[in-house]
């Protein structure tokens, strides 16, 4: 790729991208285009939530409890106010809450996966390539890590962090704890797969060749082995992003998720499921559909990306 850029300097980078095989394939795939549109809309509306949302659901002083349980597009019996997607049990506008909640969910998800990926790939590569005691220590640590279900990791970190965080930072703390907890429980997957693939790759001729021409182990890992193990990593990362968002939701079911005063999509679903039987379907349905749309389109996009980025599959 880099060689090509040098040969054709007159073309701009944008032009280059638009002419590339990947973009061509992208244009031809309706699923990819649709997913991209959905993901973009969701991410943008989450980013610009304060501009789009009619109310700020994170401001307790602005809430009126008497607005609680208002149906979508139906005026409230006491206050006469109308809400696009109705209100929840606290009288919060569901539409605004979803926008703000999506910010929390996306932030937790992306940060957790990045954290897990960097940690997992680094440790996986090192243990697969270097071997010996380094490998033993890393992989045994991974065993210990795996032994702790993510729920427990989250509880542990939560408890410890709570002891050290002043109360005014606790709401923010919950988010960082979630990121670390979900990231920590995910890195092992990356490390195991990367290590497994590295063990196979490093026996192959091209790695031997690179070693013979005097490349440093670091360069070999980064330039030669890493690109070749990216395919399984991408599969896991794809699911991991959606999964991290869902893991946060699961943790909130067990009471260690985002706080209800600053809810994520997961917290909203946890709260909403309490109203599944009572007929206030909108409190559950809208956040659930948003989460589904987000996770599903991220997954579909990842699927397509994986196929498109893999030259051997073209």
């Amino acid at each position: 790729m880099s060689d090509m850029t040098q040969k054709i300097p007159q073309k701009s980078r944008v032009r280059l991208f638009l002419d590339s095989d990947i973009f061509y394939a992208f244009k031809r795939s309706p699923v990819a285009v649709a997913s991209t549109i959905v993901v973009s809309i969701l991410i943008l509306s989450a980013l610009f939530a304060p501009l789009i949302a009619p109310t700020n659901p994170f401001d307790p002083a602005s809430l009126n409890l008497m607005n609680g349980f208002t149906g979508p597009m139906a005026p409230n019996a006491f206050t006469g106010e109308t809400f696009l997607l109705g209100t929840d049990d606290q009288g919060r506008d569901v539409f605004s809450t979803i926008l703000y909640g999506m910010r929390v969910s996306l932030f937790v998800g992306v940060a957790a996966v990045l954290f897990a990926m960097v940690l997992g790939i680094t440790l996986g590569l090192i243990s697969g390539y270097v071997g010996g005691w380094t490998e033993t220590i890393i992989m045994r640590t991974a065993d210990v890590q795996l032994t702790f279900p993510s729920i427990l990791v989250a509880m542990l970190i939560f408890g410890v962090a709570k002891g050290f965080t002043p109360v005014e930072y606790r709401d923010q703390m919950a988010i960082w704890v979630l990121i670390v907890a979900i990231g920590l429980s995910d890195w092992v997957q990356f490390a195991r797969v990367v290590r497994g693939a590295t063990l196979v790759e490093k026996r192959k001729e091209y790695v031997e060749a690179a070693r013979l021409i005097g490349r440093t182990p670091f360069a070999i890992m980064l330039r030669h082995i890493l690109p070749n193990v990216l395919s399984p990593v991408l599969v896991i990362a794809t699911i991991s992003l959606a999964l991290a968002i869902i893991a946060e939701a699961t943790l909130s079911f067990l009471g260690v998720g985002a706080p209800p005063t600053q809810p994520s999509l997961g917290t909203l679903i946890r709260i909403g499921q309490g109203f599944l039987f009572s007929g206030e379907w909108w409190i559950l349905l809208f956040p659930a559909v948003t989460l589904l749309a987000l996770a599903l389109s991220v997954n579909l996009l990842g699927d397509w990306l994986r196929d498109a980025l893999n030259p051997r599959l073209r």
Binding site: P60, A61, L65, G91, V167, T261, L276, F277, G279
Partner: protein, 521 residues
């Protein structure tokens, strides 16, 4: 093959008994022990009331009625109480009930290993007069003593001794943790902790059975939605509690009934009376506004209790102006609700107290202890913010909550109190009296509220035999607590039970489920 055969036999047995009156019910918390003296908690005592009996018991209206004692009268000028025991009562293992069992159960329930020993704090001695007469002597006149021992359950002394369970064992358990031998209407035939507990009628029970149950099974279901689904699908006949939001739906379903009542539990807000400064404030770090009654009154005015009742509790709870509900003995009738919702009054009071711009603080709240506790705290946070009291809500599971309160880690907290004696004296003793370890006073008064007059009245209330004098003193305490806003009482929690339509039962206000009042149609 043999296993299969035995299974077929088992199944056949089940199939044939399916027409008998079987009853299955689900609760949130499995009773943690079958030992009636080991843990003084509502799930344990409530359940064991079906298996064991006390000298007295509470009827459908909570009134004290004869059980293992047929009658009782005060001795002399309040030196104690004489109980005349019922003759011909047998335990579920066939042994006869005598005064020795009462003495043994007193020793067992008041022992250091027991969790029920505080019931017997006023008792100086228990004397067996004859096989069917027992005198319980008290250190001072104690008019409500019979009321206070309704949950003191009598155990067979020979059975307990023979099985090495003469004392309860909370730490490692003993025979009585899993096995029972009471005189009650039902005997436990199978106990699998956390899974199921099976009961069958005690054939030798002294009373006349008003139920038609041949077999009953208790199963814990923690997730409220799952419990509700189990009731709706007919997998269980009765659940307690029904989530408040689902009441309306159940009322519209012809297959189920909802039984509602007002529970004994009052939900209130507590304050750090003794603290020098707020712990969780961003700016008010050198003062404690809540030490000022004006600020506490402002809190009361700021909270829109009717809105909480209407929305969060769906009209299933009642506002209250003191620490006990109207159903309790000693409720102060004349007390006015003088701190109604009035945000302007709250702002004025705050300004008067020197906080015209309000202040920030930390509100602690459990999220799995009371009905909708977290949602209520969220609503309170919003309402307080509207008058300038900016709370940071910290909601947590109850196992973290009590240690936090004990360590004084709060600026304001939510508390629910259900008087075990069904008497207004109970919250005064635990919540309003100045904490005193030796006298077992104020053990739940986390904030250290202290009022000399209240402390002076409490022992007088405890020993006053004259009903109207006693009430006058209770009224005075209630008025004092309200004037000082020691706590801000919010509402009385509702009892909401759900049954299948073919079940008839009686809901007792203390949330105890009494199996012998159940009819399966």
């Amino acid at each position: 093959m043999l296993r299969k055969l035995s299974y077929v036999a088992l199944f056949a047995g089940l199939a044939s008994s399916a027409y008998a009156e079987e009853f299955t019910w689900a609760v949130t918390t499995d009773p943690q022990t079958m030992d009636p003296h080991a843990v003084n908690s509502a799930p344990v005592l409530g359940f064991l009331n079906n298996v064991y009996e006390g000298l007295v018991r509470r009827g459908q209206d909570m009134a004290i009625e004869p059980a293992l004692a047929t009658s009782w009268e005060p001795i002399g000028e309040g030196e104690g109480w004489r109980f005349n025991l019922r003759e011909g009562v047998i335990f579920q293992d066939g042994a006869a009930f005598t005064a020795q069992d009462v003495l043994f159960s007193y020793e067992r329930a008041s022992s250091e290993e027991a969790d029920t020993s505080s019931w017997f704090a006023p008792v100086s001695d228990v004397i067996v007069v004859d096989d069917f007469t027992v005198d319980i002597m008290t250190t001072s006149p104690n008019p409500i003593f019979p009321d206070s021992i309704a949950n003191w359950m009598i155990m067979d002394s020979d059975w307990a001794t023979a099985n090495d369970a003469a004392r309860p064992d909370k730490e490692s358990g003993n025979y009585a943790t899993l096995n029972t031998n009471g005189t009650g209407a039902f005997a436990i035939t199978n106990r699998e902790p956390g899974l199921r507990t099976v009961l069958e009628p005690h054939t030798g029970w002294w009373g006349e059975a008003t139920h038609n149950i041949t077999r009953a099974e208790l199963t814990p279901i923690q997730n409220p939605a799952t419990a509700l689904a189990a009731l709706l699908s007919g997998d269980v006949d009765f659940i307690n509690p029904v989530p408040v939001q689902d009441v309306a739906r159940l009322q519209n379903d012809p297959n189920v009934n909802v039984i509602q009542g007002i529970e004994a539990r009052v939900i209130m807000l507590g304050f750090p009376h003794e603290a020098d400064a707020l712990k969780y404030s961003a700016e008010t770090t050198d003062a404690n506004p809540f030490a000022d009654p004006l600020v506490r009154r402002a809190v009361a005015h700021a909270i829109n209790v009717p809105a909480i009742l209407q929305t969060t509790m769906r009209g299933n709870a009642e506002a209250v102006n003191q620490l006990v509900s109207p159903a309790m003995r000693g409720y102060a009738d004349g007390l006015s609700k003088d701190a109604a919702y009035d945000p302007d009054a709250a702002r004025t009071l705050l300004a008067e107290a020197g906080y015209p711009d309000g202040f920030s603080f930390g509100l602690k709240c459990p999220n799995d202890r009371y009905l909708n506790d977290e949602a209520v705290c969220q609503a309170i946070t919003g309402m307080l913010a509207q008058v300038g009291m900016r709370a940071t809500l910290d909601a947590m599971p109850v196992q973290n909550y009590w240690p936090e309160l004990r360590a004084d880690n709060y600026d304001m907290y939510l508390l629910g109190w259900s008087p075990g004696t069904f008497d207004a004296e109970h919250p005064v003793r635990f919540l309003a009296a100045t904490p005193n370890e030796e006298k077992r006073l104020g053990s739940w008064n986390f904030g250290g509220y202290s009022n000399a007059r209240v402390d002076e009245l409490l022992p007088l209330i405890q020993s006053e035999i004259d009903e109207s004098k006693r009430q006058a003193m209770l009224d005075e305490v209630a008025q004092t607590l309200q004037d000082e806003m020691a706590y801000v009482p919010l509402y009385v929690q509702p009892l909401i039970w759900g049954t299948r339509a073919n079940i008839e039962l009686v809901q007792r206000p203390d949330n105890f489920f009494i199996l012998r009042w159940v009819t399966v149609n």
